[in-house]
């Protein structure tokens, strides 16, 4: 057991950011080879560092050191990537002027909630879980996986009052993949690609090719990596967007 884990935290962070003098690095390395608890604490310090970077909680100097460390550390880059894929964080935003005044913010929030309650019409809710078997690359062993298929509804367009009409999708534990079926005939022939973004952020989080099922119905196949939120699937013909579909992702127990 470590006597005082707290006294190690800043030392471990400096080590991970490659800011420790050589002698200090060697001392810590030698110590974590001897002490299993210190090794675990080092891994935890690494996790915290990556999570604080993602949440925009590092100071400017720490951020600079973190970015610099990722240049020479495939490990840090990989772990950041894994973190983003498994638990993406919404980008940190500066508060808008009206949000700085809390009574205005509360009033605005109430209005937004009321407007969402009034406008979010969920009228398609067809979900089925179909277990299937996938083969692990390079090995013959099979591992069970679960796919959740959801039918996105038509028209899937933004209403005149800026509200969305979409499909609510509840994802049960163990689901690895989502198949979003698009309404037959809703996608022009020749439209081949899609992008997915959250409704409150224009930057796409996923993109890929539109596939067809046996009934020639268009579908979008994505890994179950998105956090709960409202999303927009945009279908492209070449570079031009031709259709939008909305869905709300939630996790169910």
């Amino acid at each position: 057991m470590l006597n005082d884990p707290q006294q190690y935290r800043s030392r471990l962070q400096a080590y991970l950011l490659r800011q420790s003098p050589a002698e200090e690095s060697e001392r810590l390395e030698s110590e974590f080879f001897e002490n299993d608890d210190l090794f675990a604490l080092l891994l935890q310090a690494e996790e915290e560092l990556i999570e604080r970077f993602e949440r925009g909680q590092l100071s400017r100097d720490e951020q600079r050191a973190f970015r610099s460390a990722t240049q020479s550390s495939p490990r840090l880059r990989d772990l950041l990537e894994v973190q983003r894929r498994l638990a993406p964080q919404p980008p940190a935003r500066k508060p808008r002027p009206w949000q700085r005044s809390w009574p205005m913010a509360v009033a605005a929030s109430v209005l937004v909630v009321l407007s969402l309650l009034a406008s979010w019409r969920i009228y398609v809710y067809k979900i089925k879980i179909s277990p299937r078997t996938v083969f692990t690359a390079g090995e013959s062993k099979q591992s069970p996986a679960a796919t959740l298929t959801a039918q996105l509804n038509s028209p899937g367009l933004r209403g005149g009052n800026n509200s969305y009409t979409g499909t609510a999708i509840a994802v049960a534990p163990g689901i690895r993949e989502l198949i979003l079926l698009l309404p037959p005939g809703s996608v022009p022939s020749g439209a081949r690609t899609f992008s997915i973004r959250s409704a409150d952020n224009p930057a796409p989080v996923l993109k890929g090719e539109v596939a067809l099922n046996n009934q020639k119905q268009p579908l979008v196949r994505i890994p179950n990596l998105l956090p709960p939120n409202d999303y927009i699937v945009t279908i492209f013909s070449g570079k031009a967007p031709v259709a939008d579909f909305y869905f709300r992702l939630n996790f169910s127990n």
């Binding site: 080879f33 675990a40 880059r77 990989d78 964080q89 390079g138 993949e177 930057a203 989080v205 890929g208």
Partner: protein, 194 residues
């Protein structure tokens, strides 16, 4: 870890603890420390595992030759430092830069938050996540999206210490990262695995 002959493996185990079960756990943990140490120094996941095997092979050979190693952990650390320095000097710097350039030019490795992924990256992540068994996938997802408090509660629920859970998660992430790197290489996105 590479397979070793029965007697060599026994010698290595014996250097860690008298009880085989304890020794096997400690050997695995020390190997993971070696990989992490080599990665902290700048090795990639595949390179780190290969070099960690090399360190273990050196320790085994010394034991087979009859050398007595008083502190196996200190020996492994010193040997790992030597192996890394040797490897770093031998690896042509220009080649390492070239590998990194290739890696960065074709993939969205560390872009802005919410940057879209290339389809090949999505495919590889999907394939590698499928490769984890369901329990591991769920544990990794729950751990990753949690915080200090929820992770403590998770460890309790799984009847593990917080530190054991951390080490187990590190093992899963390493498997995922290795699978991902190998998939990208198979897809022709990476020239050499680092």
């Amino acid at each position: 870890m590479t397979q070793k002959t029965f007697s060599a493996y026994d010698l290595l185990l014996g250097a860690f603890a008298p009880q085989p079960e304890d020794a096997a756990y400690l050997l695995q943990l020390q190997w993971e420390k070696l990989v992490a140490f080599l990665e902290f120094k700048g090795a990639g996941i595949v390179e780190g595992e290969q070099l960690a095997d090399k360190v273990m092979d050196i320790a085994t050979r010394r034991l087979q030759e009859g050398e007595s190693i008083a502190n196996i952990r200190a020996f492994l650390y010193e040997t790992a430092r030597y192996v890394w320095l040797n490897h770093y000097r031998k690896t042509k710097r220009t080649q390492r830069w070239f590998d990194q350039y290739e890696y960065w030019s074709k993939l969205k490795v560390l872009g802005a938050q919410n940057e879209e992924l290339e389809p090949v990256q999505v495919k590889c992540y999907q394939q590698c996540l499928h490769g984890l068994d369901t329990a591991d996938h769920d544990l990794l997802a729950e751990y990753t999206s949690g915080n200090t408090q929820t992770r403590l509660a998770l460890a309790e629920r799984k009847h593990m210490t917080r530190n054991s859970l951390t080490v187990r998660i590190n093992r899963m992430r390493s498997a995922l990262r290795k699978c991902y790197a190998e998939c990208l290489k198979k897809e022709g996105c990476i020239k050499n695995l680092v």
